[in-house]
Amino acid sequence: MSKYNNFFGDYGGRYVPEVLRLPLAELEAAYVEAIEDPAFMAEFKTFQTDFIGRPTPLLHAVNAGKALGGADIYIKLEGLANTGAHKINNAAGQALLAKRMGKTRVIAETGAGQHGVATASACARLGLECVIYMGTEDIRRQRPNVYWMELFGAEVRPVASGSATLKDAVNEAFRDWTSSYKNTHYLLGSALGPSPFPDMVREFQSVIGNEVKQQADFKIDAMVACVGGGSNAIGFFSPFIDLSGPRLIGAEAGGRGPGPGNNAVRMDASAKTGIVQGYKSRFLLDDDGQVLPTHSISAGLDYPGIGPQLAELGRTGRVEFVSVTDGEALAALKFFAATEGIIFAMESAHAGAAAMSIAKELGPGKKIIINMSGRGDKDIFISAAAFDGKNWKTFLLEESGRIND
């Protein structure tokens, strides 16, 4: 696979106003040059080793496999990457690139807050000014991450427009960039948006898959990742895409179940091809092409579009897609905590849940790898409320009283 494709079949491209044509062309040139420059890649490698803590482990989840009685389960522990999720891989790559381009300011959108935290952290290390756009609904859902971003010195700007979630934060970041691009890099957090973002984000995330290739001393039968915009999935799948195996499986947010506004499933018949946020892909749209509201228990999967390369790989059948409901994700979170002592991020728990049924379907002797894209610390307010609502509420009330004192 080429490092810069622009289009993936019919999907991808760069559908932006004239004002963004120049900054994107400049970014494309800088990316294409840097990714082939041994000096840049060495700098990136050092950042990965010293700060991110790479390679992240590939864990044989023996207990989980036994409990399910199907295929052997392995977990790629991206949640052990510094700042708690795979998002730092891309944030570090792009922040280094921004610096190389002479930019002094970085802006980013965030949903779950993991990309915001990763970006804020990388900017703190590299001395870049940092502004994070975050929907007010996501600020509520993922409050702990807001504090970490601010601790890293970033300014978190609440976005109340539209549905006040991830897609609206993307719009707001683009609005900022149209007047700030001279000194500002827009550090987009998933494998979507106008080119070169989908290619660039995949390359910076491909370290996940490349490590798995090294670490797995066995034949992999299936690989499973959750898919919001698709950055952890495409990075994890990347070195295997051009091969005929293993099976590559993406888990989308099934939310409350079928029906408009209840989920964020883009890879079944409820979505269609559209152009939104600068790229052509599959989106959840109404009959006029207006973007529909979405729902997921996980802020990071609560997005109406899917990265163009995954949309194309879904069309060709190389990547299979399944959907996982809020309830199934919560059950998977509980299962892996109990069997393996690991807390999945709510997003990653969707991959966990998908893997639980695929493991049974594949049966004993087969091997399956889950990408645990992040760890679940950030979700404490969601998981505690779901698992132990009454006690958690009592605790919060007591604790808030203590703060007032």
């Binding site: 491209g13 760069r14 559908y15 932006v16 106003p17 004239e18 004002v19 044509r21 120049l22 427009s161 539209g162 897609k167 609206d168 993307v170 719009n171 683009f174 609005r175 149209t178 007047s179 691009y181 559209g274 152009i275 939104v276 946020q277 600068g278 052509k280 749209l285 006029d288 092409g289 207006q290 973007v291």
Partner: protein
């Protein structure tokens, strides 16, 4: 129509949002803009994710969609406006809306409704999904948007599409905030003018003084957020002091000085 709709030779193109504050009020807005002396109308079809627009227009689009605005309502609105007065109507929207209907179909429908030109800022020459060809086929103009800072080589590419009019956004950024007119944007206007195209110039136009400064350098000035703001105030005024039609007409008269 030219003299009837212009005052002292100043051509003002007025931007308004179809379906905002509701469908009937947006028709009344158009009538007011015409009565006030607008040279042409630029009607925006609301899109859920208007990423080139500032807060005023973003909110207006959102409100229109919350009230159930459909693209077909927009075409009907244009037909009604054209019945009221045969004034040039430009239709502005985003790629998401146009692509969803099919570029050819959208363009043909716009032409049939009486639209004279389409302004689709995120379908630019070279990545237009066939919009410019569709415009030629349907016999309506496609109006490219350019901004100061676009390099000469790119201007050449855009001009190769042979546009009648060019929409010149007077600064980078989104719609809304006030634009200072200086050598940079006025100089850019003069440069674009050398291509022999007609220029409509806007973004952050809120005062008659700005328009006086602008007019010697272009063919028409565009006002958008300023008008939407005026409509919002009139519509939200519980005392109902002036109708939306009057508010729109007043806004145009004020800008024309």
């Amino acid at each position: 129509m030219t003299e009837l709709n212009t005052k002292a030779g100043t051509k003002l193109i007025t931007h308004f949002i179809a379906g905002y504050p509701d469908i009937e009020s947006s028709y009344e807005t158009a009538v007011g803009l015409i009565n006030g002396g607008a040279y042409a109308l630029e009607m925006q079809i609301p899109f859920s994710d208007p990423s080139a627009d500032g807060p005023v227009i973003e909110l207006a689009c959102r409100r229109a969609l919350e009230k159930g605005f459909k693209v077909s309502d927009g075409f009907r609105l244009i037909e009604r406006i054209k019945e009221y007065r045969d004034i040039p109507v430009y239709l502005m929207s985003y790629s998401g809306i146009v692509y969803n209907m099919g570029i050819d179909r959208f363009t043909a429908k716009a032409a049939a409704a009486g639209v004279c030109g389409l302004i689709i800022p995120d379908l630019i020459p070279g990545a237009d999904e066939g919009l410019y060809a569709a415009g030629r086929k349907a016999g309506i103009q496609i109006v490219p948007v350019v901004v100061p800072g676009v390099p000469d080589s790119r201007l050449e590419e855009i001009m190769a599409e042979n546009p009648d009019w060019v929409y010149l956004a007077l600064r980078a950024g989104i719609t809304g905030s006030y634009t200072i007119l200086d050598e940079v944007n006025l100089g850019f206007l003069d440069k674009v003018k050398t291509y022999g195209v007609k220029i409509m110039a806007g973004f952050g136009i809120k005062t008659p003084q700005q328009i006086k400064t602008l007019i010697p350098h272009c063919d028409a000035a565009i006002a958008g957020s300023f008008i939407v703001d005026r409509i919002t105030s009139s519509y939200n005024d519980a005392a109902g002091r002036i109708s939306v039609t009057e508010a729109a007409a007043d806004a145009v008269r004020y800008l024309l000085g």
